[in-house]
Symmetry: C2
Subunit: 576 residues, 2 copies
């Protein structure tokens, strides 16, 4: 896109802008906007500072005494740098990136760093490209870390298999910051060449490499860090976090929908450690986003727990920016992007307005209109056509052999090995579970049994199933199982709750089977209604009917999982 620009032309264009901002800063030209009498968090001196803040061409240009035709009085308020989410999978919001942007702007988020891991497992590099195009020019700046583990494991049948060469050209994209969470830490520690060469290539491009290594320690941790993994967001204890921090890793304190580590990691939010910390959500589901908020929720909670508010704000803004070498943001200072949040005070922490590049994007409870990014027609069509499964019948789910029983554990995503079953028995909570390969028309259908889900009638199916996103379904009879899967395919993806062939609730996720084309509130409403219907059909109250189900196919968490090839013992990595 865009016309060719010579280097000399680029320098001259930037020079013209530079001359203007210097003229404004020096007081020779009026600022586009002046925040009069502002009190703001200074992340350099760790103080509240005061002054008029001049903004021009999207940048803070000066702090001191300024005036102009467009002034906003900031007396009695507090101005903070815009917040950054240092690690999120945007797909977890179930909506398009622009719907996500609308949802987080009121919460002060002005930059997020996303790992398009989910969509890449479905669409490969087309998925990465789709997300890049779908985030271009949004008022929340979306930066990318390239998925490092597609597929997540060798036993996964995903839509793509990406080695370092596949993702290499994306490092040239101006919004790509590096290589995303290196979940295959055993591969790193074992010096697996396919794994290490992804790190080597990211380093060759002078990019960051994020980590994912819960409770790794000792020389294994040394090996993981020396390989070039610069951060971790999987710490659930201060001890684990400090051990990693002392070896040089940056710590992303995660507080999202599925995993919540803030309370355990509060000891890090002290002058001793905080400079090496930032905040992230990892996953953020619709209701959580609508009800709790985003990074602001973490900041608020940290302050309530006794963290120095200036430290909390700095961790939420400056530290993440500096980690990612996004050196033009994360502070209120001359030359920085005018991304900022206006609140009443630290105690109430009510967000009154949010500005992106000097333009108000949220004010008086309203998000301002913005241009929706244009995604190429090829990618739109590709994203809406990711199901390659023939119409199924109950015969496809029939099975004469006994199969393993996956035992769900309330409130956890680990499972138990509960032996074998040969048939469905809803009275004993023995349900049939199936994973239907949906990327390449292989007709692979893995079948097993599930206990602890509670369904008494009908079936539930979803195309969100980590990390390959095949269709996972659970049912009380083969006919409803087939109907539920067929409906997911008919919708080009999503969640279906069905009884006796009748749809009880559904969420259409036609973008790669992961995201909806509808607004967030609508998606949330459909999702909550579908959940209600799933509970009505008997799903246990302590189970999230769709999220927990989506993890039953993730072949890295013990004990049993179901893949497209059958029930897998995660520890032995053998099918049983």
């Amino acid at each position: 896109m865009g016309t060719y620009e010579s280097y000399a032309g680029k320098i001259n264009r930037k020079l013209m802008k530079k001359v203007h901002i210097v003229n404004v800063a020096a007081g020779r030209a009026p600022a586009d906007l002046v925040l009069k009498n502002a009190s703001y968090v200074n992340v350099f001196s760790n103080k509240i500072c005061h002054g008029d803040i001049a903004i021009t061409k999207g940048l803070f240009v000066g702090i001191g005494q300024y005036s102009g035709p467009n002034e906003v009085d900031m007396s009695g308020k507090l101005v903070l740098p815009g917040f950054l989410d240092s690690h999120i999978h945007l797909e977890s919001s179930l909506v398009t990136p622009w719907e996500f942007a609308k949802a987080v702007l009121p919460h002060g988020t002005t930059t997020v760093v996303t790992d398009p891991h989910e969509i890449a497992n479905v669409m490969g590099t087309d998925g990465i490209e789709y997300m890049l195009q779908a985030t271009e020019g949004l008022p929340v700046d979306v930066r990318f870390m390239l998925p490092s583990c597609v597929p997540a494991t060798p036993v996964d049948e995903s839509g793509a298999d990406l080695d370092y060469r596949d993702i290499d050209s994306f490092y040239d994209h101006p919004r790509v910051q590096g290589l995303a969470e290196m979940m295959n830490f055993p591969g790193v520690i074992q010096a697996d060449k396919d794994v290490l060469e992804k790190i080597v290539a990211a380093q060759a491009h002078h990019k960051k490499i994020d980590g994912h290594a819960p409770n790794l320690e000792g020389n294994d941790l040394n090996a993981y860090v020396t390989a070039g993994v610069y951060s971790d967001h999987e710490c659930s204890s201060a001890q684990d976090a400090i051990a990693k921090l002392e070896l040089g890793q940056f710590i992303m304190i995660r507080e999202g929908t599925a995993a919540r580590n803030l309370d355990a990691l509060l000891p890090l939010l002290t002058p001793e450690y905080a400079d090496r910390c930032m905040f992230c959500c990892d996953d953020k589901h619709p209701s959580d986003l609508l009800e709790k908020g985003h990074i602001d929720y973490i900041v608020r909670r940290a302050i309530q727990k006794g963290v120095d508010p200036i430290i909390a704000v700095k961790v939420a803004s400056h530290n993440a920016a500096r980690y990612y070498a996004l050196n033009n943001r994360g502070a209120i200072a001359p030359g920085y992007l005018a991304d900022f949040v206006v609140i009443d005070n630290f105690r109430d922490f009510h967000i009154e307005s949010v500005y992106k590049k000097g333009v108000v994007m949220y004010e008086t409870n309203e998000v301002k209109q913005f241009q929706i990014p244009e995604v190429s027609s090829y990618l739109v069509e590709r994203a809406h056509n990711t199901f390659h499964v023939p119409s199924l019948t109950e015969k496809d789910f029939e099975d004469v052999r006994p199969r393993g029983i996956i035992g769900m554990v309330p409130g956890e995503i680990i499972t138990q090995d509960l032996g074998y079953a040969a048939e469905i028995n809803p009275a004993k909570d023995i349900l049939k579970i199936a994973v239907v390969e949906r990327h390449k028309n292989t007709r692979h259908i893995g079948i097993g049994y599930l206990k602890g889900y509670g369904l008494k009638e009908g079936a539930v199916a979803t195309s969100i199933s980590h990390d390959s996103h095949n269709i996972i379904a659970v049912g009380t009879n083969d006919k409803d199982l087939a109907a539920a899967v067929n409906r997911v395919v008919e919708n080009n993806g999503g969640i279906v709750v069905l009884k006796d062939g009748q749809i009880q609730g559904e969420v259409v996720l036609a973008i790669a089977g992961l995201m909806s084309d509808a607004p967030l509130t609508q998606v949330n409403q459909a999702l909550e209604e579908a959940k209600k219907q799933a509970f009505a059909l008997g799903v246990c109250q302590d189970v999230d009917p769709f999220m927990t189900l989506s993890f039953m196919s993730l072949p890295v968490i013990p004990t049993l999982r179901l893949t497209t090839r059958g029930i897998l013992d995660v520890i032995s990595q053998k099918y049983i």
Copy 2:
């Protein structure tokens, strides 16, 4: 230099190294070197940590329990990251970069960031290239900031005139970190396009831009910072430094030969501000280097003044590395360059050994041998042939008109306007001063009078004269003036003290008229002897006979200066 390496080949080469270091870190292969039972400064947690430190292929690869065929017991000692000088002009040492390296290795310096401003004023881009080649592969890693102000002012007749296009290709060099001190701060504030486009180009290359703006404040400082100047090393008061730090600038605390700001800036070496600070020397003369040391001297002094030793060490190492995005050094942690310093303890701070990339380079008072970089014959010849001046006679220094008198001020480099004189009068300390253009054979010779220098007989001449490095000479008679200048030219540069045509002392600086081909101790000896001879000829004891003289031609410091075109009033920028 070097064979062509494909991208795939580069990845594979780096992969092989990566596999090996991961194997060592994981304990599957022995380390090249193990520092047993080490106590070390952890710059991430701000603590002294303990463990065995494994080193392989020039990198720290693990900290914990390691053993190997090559172990060094570190019990009772303290291991620190190697020190960085964040801003120096290597030419100020008067020796070649390899002689400089030999001198600073015993002081724990493992990286310096140099601005080849002096040689660039003589040789233009050839001077930058000369220094790059002369520093390649040294055991002190030499990084470059490209000179931003050549010539220093429009009235200077220097050897080159560099705009952004001239220096642009150097940004691709792997050891170039950015644009050096932007001394022309009035040009920045006035939005001078030639000045700003240098900043714009450095930013287009994602490089750092260093500052130089003593006591700039208010909206002028806002303009300077918003233009994109990220640091300052000219702060001589904590108030000035904090004002700049609060606007986002990093502060280089300077303690060198000419300017010493450490004591005034001690309030910055606190948890509140220290993360935005680093150390630098700016200029470091031979005797100072030999007698006091380098960055270690600053650290030692800071500790003596009550600064937390861990803060002092972190400022001396990690902070400078992070500012310059030299993210592979400045810490003792897996994956970092094994650049380190072994001391006895913080109180005595005696440096026992220094390692660069895991190899001991200084131990038991001895610097290890290393390969001297090879400079291309073109550049060697070019550097030794920078004088283009015909042989002069006393007639060239005769002048019938009265000329301004520059009044030296003891202990300062500012001067006074002491009216006019028409002839030399040593009894009244009225000496003739001359600046002889030496780059382009223009035959321009600026003549004036000097008071406060004290010379009673003979003449002194030097080819170090800031910043154009023409020949500056002061004499009691025209004949000795001519002889002294002729001798400097004959030597291809240097310092000469002469009486009645007889050389009393001299330092040959045949590399661009700035640096010697001789060892540091020899240069220092010649310099001290020449100084002694200058004092013997009457130079006042409170004047440095050569250094102070070298500033008499710098047309930016009030009141009067002498250029190749005559006596200049610095305030009005007019010749008088």
